[in-house]
Assembly symmetry: C2
DNA sequence: AACCAAAATGAGCACGTGAACATTTGACAA
DNA sequence: TTGTCAAATGTTCACGTGCTCATTTTGGTT
């Protein structure tokens, strides 16, 4: 019977008015019961709850939101969920959302088409969200001229600052600054850098961090090696580095900074395959701390981003009252394991 | 000025009525412009668009939904986003959602507390969703007696069938059935099974698939080895297996079926470290095909689940018209690489 | 100019709710 | 009993939209 009722009503749940009629009370009393207000007799409450049960009552989100104004949800627009970092960031956002009793409304932007912030923003704003976070992996073609939708706080996950939106990202630049200094401090003034693909923004910032830091230390940078984030590309570069090391000479590299952990893994495999030892012959560091549990005996010295922190900050900026616009770079932490040797003195 | 207006209105956007007043038309005409109806003069449309622009008009989702009834969004409740499989499933859901112009409203269920379907369902139903997908990694304590919220189609991602909800999952059982048969067909009647943790449902089904298949082939199953999904636990089990192989005897294992790829990777590392060759001395297969790009020279024969397919089916079941209740097991595909040797004859 | 069909536009209603305010009920003291 | 006060309950309103139906305007034909 109840099932019938629900179906006949065009897929909609019963309204509070119908519940009220069945329970023999006013609609407002039903509302009070639903929202757990104190001033309702226990007897009345029970009668209302029974009626709700019988009709399969589901309070209308639309009605409530129309009255109240807030949706208790933020929008999240992602370009590519698979990317390693995005997942942890998503977790940080979800966790912060849970703490505020918010939901996260996600939209994915399509694979092949160019990803314009305006498109994402327009699609998102017609959803019930109180704010939005736009994840920008590749450079959006309209980044500079982008104007956020009025009335919805918009946060962009990006290393670049924006004139109208708060931007947040892990400090990609600082990560390689930190690691380069770390290697320099351990006596490795002759290092190789294995970069990520050219079209990746983080890749560009990581490379710049490395290059600038060497420059500030007045150390010449050897030509960069270009990978594509994959372990196999790291392996290929590792073979080249092994050849250099085996050839010897004054410019022999003593360390490798790989722009992510997978490539570092490939580099190590290639070096060891060439009969070299890590870290006795060559030190290697990666970035991301992404190998935990994935490979046996993980010993890679690497760097961990606070991606959950990024997500949390992004969420809070998106629901925040403050209308100030900031460019936040979240610092990272060194994870020392055993692929770097100190060769000073 | 416009910014001011928006803020003074208690954070709300201007309404269609205000736009109408500014443009000197009726509210209904504004509605027509917003929804792209054909019967509006170009001149009027322009005037309305200008007014919208000036006031920063954002159509009220609540108002529209209240009138229309559909939210064009489905709810997704996850227990643990990090889990490898969940990510790809999420992608499948997102992709299907995009094709239907749906958004996905996500809620994460908290880490420590026991995860009851009723809790998830109750929290989700108060959101603007037209259906919901509940991802059940661990066994929910209330699985059997769970009654979905009335009026919202509810799909559970689970290997177990449910009397009131459609359930969908990759065929965990069938995966190990397939791999065990594959090893048997290649002459490996003496294999070891490295299982996942006991509290994992997929782990249990994978183990059952292995054990039952051996039973049907009238082959005795050697005692199972228990891992925890991590590469290190695989390595530990690999050491035991290596010792067995080196000890020799009629029960010497010739193959290992690891319940996931990371453990398989650990097993291989341990075997090779003990001086054994894969696959010349021992064949190894994994499950998940999770190493792509992560390790150099990935050569692991494994099995790929159609997780995106699971997500797609789940989405379609959640928005589907049909009220039939099914238990869907999505089959997996063998990925042959080079860690299995044929030792027949 | 007069007329008519078609197109454009306007008016009013209903959707389901929460808040503010008004009314009724009930308990208790005088 | 009566009066008083607080608690419980009811009434009314506004939120912003899409749809139906009525009205006005437009453009073309006689």
């Amino acid at each position: 019977m109840e099932g019938m009722d629900q179906q006949t009503r065009n897929g909609r749940s019963a309204s509070a008015a119908e519940v009220a009629a069945l329970a023999g009370v006013s609609r407002q009393t039903v509302s009070r019961v639903v929202n757990g207000m104190p001033n309702v007799t226990e007897k009345t409450r029970k009668r209302v709850l029974a009626a709700m049960e019988e009709l399969g009552f589901r309070p209308s989100f639309a009605g409530a939101a129309l009255r109240g104004g807030s949706y208790r949800s933020i929008g999240l627009c992602m370009y590519n969920i698979t990317r390693v970092g995005n997942l942890a960031t998503l977790e940080g956002i979800m966790q912060a959302a849970r703490e505020h009793d918010f939901a996260v409304t996600m939209i994915e932007m399509g694979g092949d088409k160019p990803y314009a912030l305006a498109d994402a923003s327009r699609r998102m704003v017609e959803r019930p969200v109180d704010g939005m976070i736009l994840n920008m992996n590749r450079m959006a073609p309209d980044f500079e001229e982008f104007v956020p939708q009025p009335g919805v706080r918009t946060v962009i996950l990006s290393m670049y600052a924006h004139p109208r939106c708060t931007t947040i990202d892990s400090d990609q630049y600082g990560s390689c600054e930190l690691l380069t200094n770390y290697l320099l401090e351990h006596g490795h003034s002759n290092m190789r850098f294995v970069a990520g693909p050219e079209n990746s923004i983080s890749s560009r910032f990581r490379e710049a961090g490395w290059r600038d830091t060497l420059g500030r230390a007045h150390v010449d940078a050897a030509p960069m090696l270009r990978g594509d984030w994959s372990a196999d590309s790291g392996y290929a570069m590792g073979e080249r580095i092994a050849a250099e090391v085996l050839a010897g000479g004054s410019q022999t590299p003593t360390a490798v900074l790989a722009a992510n952990d997978q490539m570092a893994l490939g580099v190590i495999a290639a070096l060891e395959n060439a009969g070299l030892s890590v870290p006795d012959d060559v030190s290697v560091v990666g970035i991301d701390d992404a190998l935990e549990g994935l490979v046996p005996h993980n010993r890679l010295t690497t760097l961990r981003f606070d991606l959950r922190g990024v997500g949390k900050l992004a969420f809070e900026a998106a629901i925040g009252e403050s209308s100030s616009i900031e460019a936040i770079h979240v610092p990272s932490t060194l994870v020392e394991r055993s692929t770097v040797r100190d060769i000073r003195g």
